[in-house]
Amino acid sequence: MLVVLLSPFLWLLQMSFKTNDLILQFPPPLFFAPTLEHYRALLSSAFSASFLNSLLSASFSTAFALLLGVPAAYALSKWKGGSRHALGFAILATRMAPPIAFTIPFFLFYRWIGLLDTVTGLVLVYTSFNLPLVIWMMQPFFETLPPSLEEAALVDGARTRTVFLLIVLPMVAPGIAATAILCFLYAWNDFFFALILTRTNARTAPVAVVNFMNYEGWEWGKIAAGGSLVMAPVLVFSLAVRRYLVSGLTAGAVKG
């Protein structure tokens, strides 16, 4: 059953190893001598640059989102106020909106400042949209910490800041790891923002795959290989963090 479900995905993989004429052959052969020519072509072309762009923009945005979001989540978890729900809802809302709602203003603003087609620009966008995710995901982790440890340290005269850094953070380390991976995934998988906000310098891998759909004919082999390469990091990371995927995707609204 697994094979049946995954067969479309496996089809893409096997196509990336076929030579071009085999791809267009009808009936499609299932057994064939594999070739690495598409992968080699990709690595020596602009595709490797786009891969790097994806890597950079995803990593930096994850780092910044964590930097800003983890302390904020901690602060929120201690807050007993009623407006906390309103804030929570606002955070959820930003994740629910389709990207088109934000692209025009971003496009115009970036054009004006000169951040169009730059990795920095992408990092800013991804950070902003991963920030709510970080806050939302880390809150439950902080909430489930027994307060006794913190209280003891605070009474002993430690500042909140120190308590946070030395006691609390290590305890939620697995949560931070999981959140980091989820942020990376979202940034890596993004298509729409990269499509609109980049040209050729900061083009990311998902957009680069689409670039093989030429006017004069789609290069199926390269598309298949490109697609396979783009999904490789994602597969590796998500298999590592599968336990937290559900809560990440439901933004923690359901304790799962």
Binding site: A101, P105, S128, I135, T160, P206, G227
Partner: protein, 304 residues
């Protein structure tokens, strides 16, 4: 000692509050800027007939409700809402049902199954554009194994993505494939919290598997089914890469969802003002559903 500790507590609280403010402020500022400003801009733009090539149109507030008044009379917009409704309804339905089925079947406590289960996640974590590429390969007659199989069976299959009747179905299938793992995971998690005594007691009472399912399992997982359905509903509005790559909204406007229509308006026709109005309507709809989710989640928490 008491006086001393309450004073100490007071300063702890003060220190805590100040830390809290410092910790929260940067995030709030960023969120306000990044989410708040563009939303205001969107609203403002939806009140203008802004087009790039008409200078001055970006600040033309003379007829603020013009775009909104044009919406109901725009058959393409109304059509896009219908298409979206169909896509969301059928997509969510299949995702919930099939996800539940899969979870029931695989709710087995064996190491092998648990290991295999992780691979079921793959469609969900793939970059959406890669999912679109995969299905493009499957739906392109010249190179698709599907069409080859059909031709072997002497069955001429129409090109699904260019067929009026099947294009949307094709998208629904691809979308379901992509998001099945989501409902699967959620239902599985819920299934694993059902205490065994319930089904054991039912067995002792002489119930068969089907009755166990309907009277024991289903009530337990219904809230999860509903919630995962709602999450998928909200997310289904964002459907873009599949439509972009597979059908371009066609044939005709059969697969043109509201999100895609807004994209075309903004980036192909450069009718920024009108596109903003379409987006605002879409956002309001999404907001309404999100509120529903929160309310339901709150109710469930209250019940548990």
């Amino acid at each position: 000692m008491i006086g001393g500790s309450s004073a100490a507590k007071g300063s702890i609280d003060a220190d805590r509050r100040s830390f809290g403010r410092w910790a929260l402020a940067p995030s709030l500022i960023v969120l306000l800027l990044v989410a708040g400003l563009p939303t205001l801009y969107l609203l403002a733009t939806s009140l203008t007939p802004y087009q790039f090539v008409n200078p001055g149109s970006s600040t033309d507030f003379s007829a603020p409700l013009r775009n909104y008044r044009l919406l109901p009379g725009d058959p393409r917009f109304v059509n896009s809402l219908w298409v979206q409704a169909k896509l969301s309804f059928w997509g969510v339905l299949f995702q919930v049902l099939l996800g539940m089925l899969l979870a029931l079947l695989l709710n087995v406590n064996s190491r092998f199954v648990e290991f295999a289960r992780t691979f079921f996640l793959i469609p969900m974590v793939l970059p959406p554009i890669v999912v679109a590429v995969i299905w493009k390969l499957i739906y392109t007659p010249d190179i698709s194994p599907l069409y080859y199989a059909a031709s072997l069976l002497n069955f001429t299959m129409p090109s699904l993505t260019s067929s009026v009747d099947f294009a949307l179905t094709a998208i629904i299938i691809a979308d379901t494939w992509e998001w099945l793992p989501f409902t699967f995971l959620m239902v599985l998690a819920a299934l694993q919290t059902i205490p065994d005594e319930y089904s054991e007691a039912a067995l002792v009472d002489g119930a068969n598997a089907l009755q166990i399912f309907f009277y024991v399992t289903l009530p337990f997982i219904t809230p999860i089914l509903v919630i995962s359905g709602m999450f998928r509903l909200i997310d289904s509005v964002k459907a873009f890469p599949l439509i972009f790559l597979l059908t371009g909204g066609g044939p005709g406007s059969v697969t043109e969802v509201t999100n895609y229509y807004a994209y075309l308006l903004a980036f192909d026709f450069n009718e920024i003002g009108y596109s903003s109005a379409v987006t605002v309507v879409l956002l309001l709809l999404v907001l309404a559903v999100s509120l529903g989710v929160i309310w339901m989640g709150r109710r469930r928490e209250a019940m548990v």
